[in-house]
Symmetry: C2
Subunit: 476 residues, 2 copies
């Protein structure tokens, strides 16, 4: 650490929003005529959130940003940088960030740097790194950064459809953070591949090569882990193994890939330094020790054995991060940070001094492994307060389960609405919580109008904080 | 400056590529049946570059990145971060940066952070700031950053069509730069507006409200200038006026707006501190001193008088930046940096110790005014070498002028090609220089194939530098 640097720059506060509308994976299996367990065990998913015609990546991010500012009592004038990560394109030129400026313009704060960062599910990580670097740079003006990850993952009818999801996360960035980045341990791997992309501009659906994408993910993971371990060894003077991380958090397209990924790290530890493992574990993995990389990605047997060996560690080091991804589905840029939020929510009181290793992956491809350290924080930026504000169990419990028929009907409607103009939505906000932004219409010039569901019609809703009563109106 | 910070972080090297194909604005006036001088005087434009079916933002950025690395003899393994600014969407998920990774993968360098930054013409500035902050951050690993701005600006038939253009710029980033950012003087203004946007996803053309966009540009300019001057005054203890900047470089959609913008700064200086101006200048502007902001944006009379007052200063402080924008047209994210390149090219030997004030604008909107200081640099990163490598006059002279008919025909073809799959291009590279990348086909899965025009078929082409002979192939 050089003199004059800001210490412990990272995440001061988090909040998440996901649509209250979801479909059960078990019901989807039935509806799709898939074999029992194909989605719930094969993919490892329980439930999937989706946007109805009322919500999109802009409305979700408006909702979560205002929610974070209110709940942590942050004056919008204290935000000096706002970065958005997203791969859900509503406009090819105008950034989602500019829509969010509405919140800040109401407080005459237009001095807010930052735009949108784009590469598949990695945009949120790019936004986070950019925001942290800003705080560490000579241009920092002492105000907070704000990172928003917002995405709606939808797929054409077929095998990829159950791997959708939707959410928006907001993270406040600054020094002396309870979740600080260990900036020297970072392994990055970037390459040119066509594993998942969105070249059909008129359609919201991606082109996906599922098998290639999984191999790319695991190869990128190996490469990042190797670099991460190398840097750790250079600085700490000892080999890194999974015992040096208390939790491992992965970008989660579906839970099964997270299981495979963690097992892959265990296999890497075995290859690199077998003594890290117990005798029986070593013996189980021994038959695979001479495989080429390519063979190892294709071997079902290795996959199975490595997962068995990893299982007890998985239960402790990974499982706590899987709450939201299993319940919501793939949130693209928000997925990794929803997994981090799950750990903080589940384990906040025991996290002090611990290390969480994070793996961010975006198809195309871009990937980074990095780590965060957990600290005491000062209220309101303490782990316990973050956990309390996240309020995940309550948010999950209050959702409305749609039938697969209604889910499919909603997606059909959205296909027509994507890129369309000159329509109004139903404005039926009965399923939305007070404070939720929603789309009311898109005019003949494609201009989008949003409104905020008033809190007055919701008994027991949280009292608005002082700043929000000043001038925020309900029309956006 | 705090201890331990890297000094003078900024632009070490630049290179620009623009298509060799262009159309004369005077011929376009004729062809469009526009009044004589409408494009050449009314817009202030001379010529417009455009991509044929062989080129796009990916091929242009491949060309310029490899050209910069070769001409400055930079080993691709020395690049630790690569950021792209663009608003030309070929894929909604896969970043342009991942296509550029092909160059670095050949050298086994996949450890290259950064993705694409998006908001209209501002993405390049966001990428530059992100790259500079990275060098100043605790994560910097001592390698170079690389910023690429690449765009193709095309408009539907009608009044906006002559405001197109196309180019890609590459800038190498690091400490002790001949063009360093004065990070403390920075004025930013961000807001939510619909002045220019791209909501019609299937079309390459934007939706533009030309009058609104011009007003937004000038309002953002005023706001940024005010903030920039405020920070200057806080730190330097004296008022900023245009006499404190040797050159003023603006994002240039068309030259006329640059003339108006500079005049607006002079008007701001007059309002803020009339004594900055000569007696006669003051008398000319006096009648407008009590206008409201809104009135001042609408007043043709003020526009005219302010431009007259500003003219002698414009000729000295702005004119040298207008070479490329007048000859190429709007290059979106590359426009501001093509203007900077024009100053460096025209004035390199006299720039030492001078200050250039830059105004970046992206519709939607995002805008920042910032400044750079010019220093002696060490070869190859000296202003004179940058000027020599830019080689602008030669590049401009060797272009091929298309008739307006052929230009219109090309754009018609490109309308069909945008977002399309399963086609091959003519592969007729006769107009391209050796070393230029070009599109050969898009397959049935939308995968894009590029090739590089070999240098062997061009007598007198530059000898390839040592690194490029190692392993770079001709197929991408």
């Amino acid at each position: 650490m050089e003199p004059g640097r800001r210490m412990d720059v990272g995440i001061l506060a988090m909040d998440i929003y996901f649509p209250p509308t979801c479909v059960q994976q078990e019901a989807l299996e039935d509806y799709d005529g898939a074999s029992k367990g194909k989605y719930t065990v094969g993919l490892g998913q329980d439930c999937m959130a989706f946007c109805t015609e009322l919500e999109d990546v802009i409305s979700m991010s408006l909702t979560v940003v205002l929610s974070l500012l209110e709940k942590y009592q942050i004056d919008p004038r204290q935000i000096g940088r706002l970065e958005v990560g997203s791969e859900t394109v509503i406009d090819k030129s105008k950034s989602i960030k500019t829509w969010l400026m509405q919140i800040f313009e109401e407080y005459d704060n237009t001095d807010v740097e930052g735009v949108d960062s784009t590469n598949a599910c990695y945009g949120g990580t790019a936004a986070l790194f950019n925001c942290v670097n800003w705080v560490e740079s000579s241009t920092w003006d002492g105000r907070y950064g704000l990172v928003v990850c917002t995405d709606s993952a939808v797929y054409a009818e077929g095998p990829a459809r159950p791997t959708g999801g939707a959410a928006a996360i907001a993270m406040l960035i600054g020094p002396n953070a309870p979740i600080s980045l260990e900036s020297k341990f970072r392994g990055t791997h970037m390459a040119h591949v066509y594993d998942f992309y969105k070249p059909n501009l008129a359609s919201e659906y991606p082109v996906v090569d599922g098998k290639l994408s999984q191999t790319c993910y695991l190869m990128a993971l190996d490469s990042c882990y190797k670099r991460f371990c190398g840097k750790f060894e250079n600085i700490e003077g000892k080999q890194f193994s999974i015992s040096d991380g208390n939790y491992f958090v992965f970008h989660s397209p579906y839970n099964k890939l997270v299981q495979k990924s963690f097992a892959r790290l265990v296999f890497n530890d075995f290859l690199c330094c077998p003594s890290n493992l117990q005798k029986e574990e070593r013996e189980n993995l021994e038959p695979f020790s001479n495989m080429t990389g390519e063979e190892s990605y294709q071997s079902r047997e290795l996959e199975k054995v490595a997962q068995q060996v990893a299982k007890p560690y998985y239960n402790v080091k990974v499982q706590p991060s899987t709450l939201l991804p299993k319940q919501i589905g793939n949130m693209y840029t928000a997925s990794l940070y929803a997994s981090l939020a799950s750990v903080v929510y589940n384990k906040h009181s025991t996290l002090m001094g611990q290390r969480i290793v994070m793996f961010s992956y975006g198809s195309g491809l871009t990937s980074t492994m990095f780590s965060v350290k957990l600290h005491d924080g000062q209220h309101p930026f303490s782990l316990s307060n973050i956990s309390c504000i996240l309020n995940l169990s309550e948010k999950l419990k209050s959702r409305h389960v749609f039938s697969p028929e209604n889910f499919a009907k909603t997606l059909k409607l959205m296909e027509h609405r994507y890129g369309a103009k000159d329509f109004e939505t139903s404005k039926d906000t009965s399923l939305l919580s007070p404070g939720t932004f929603y789309l009311t219409k898109v005019d003949s010039m494609y201009r989008r109008c949003y409104a905020k569901k008033g809190s007055e019609d919701a008994p027991g809703s949280k009292k608005m904080s002082s700043f929000s009563s000043m001038s925020l109106t309900n029309a956006y």
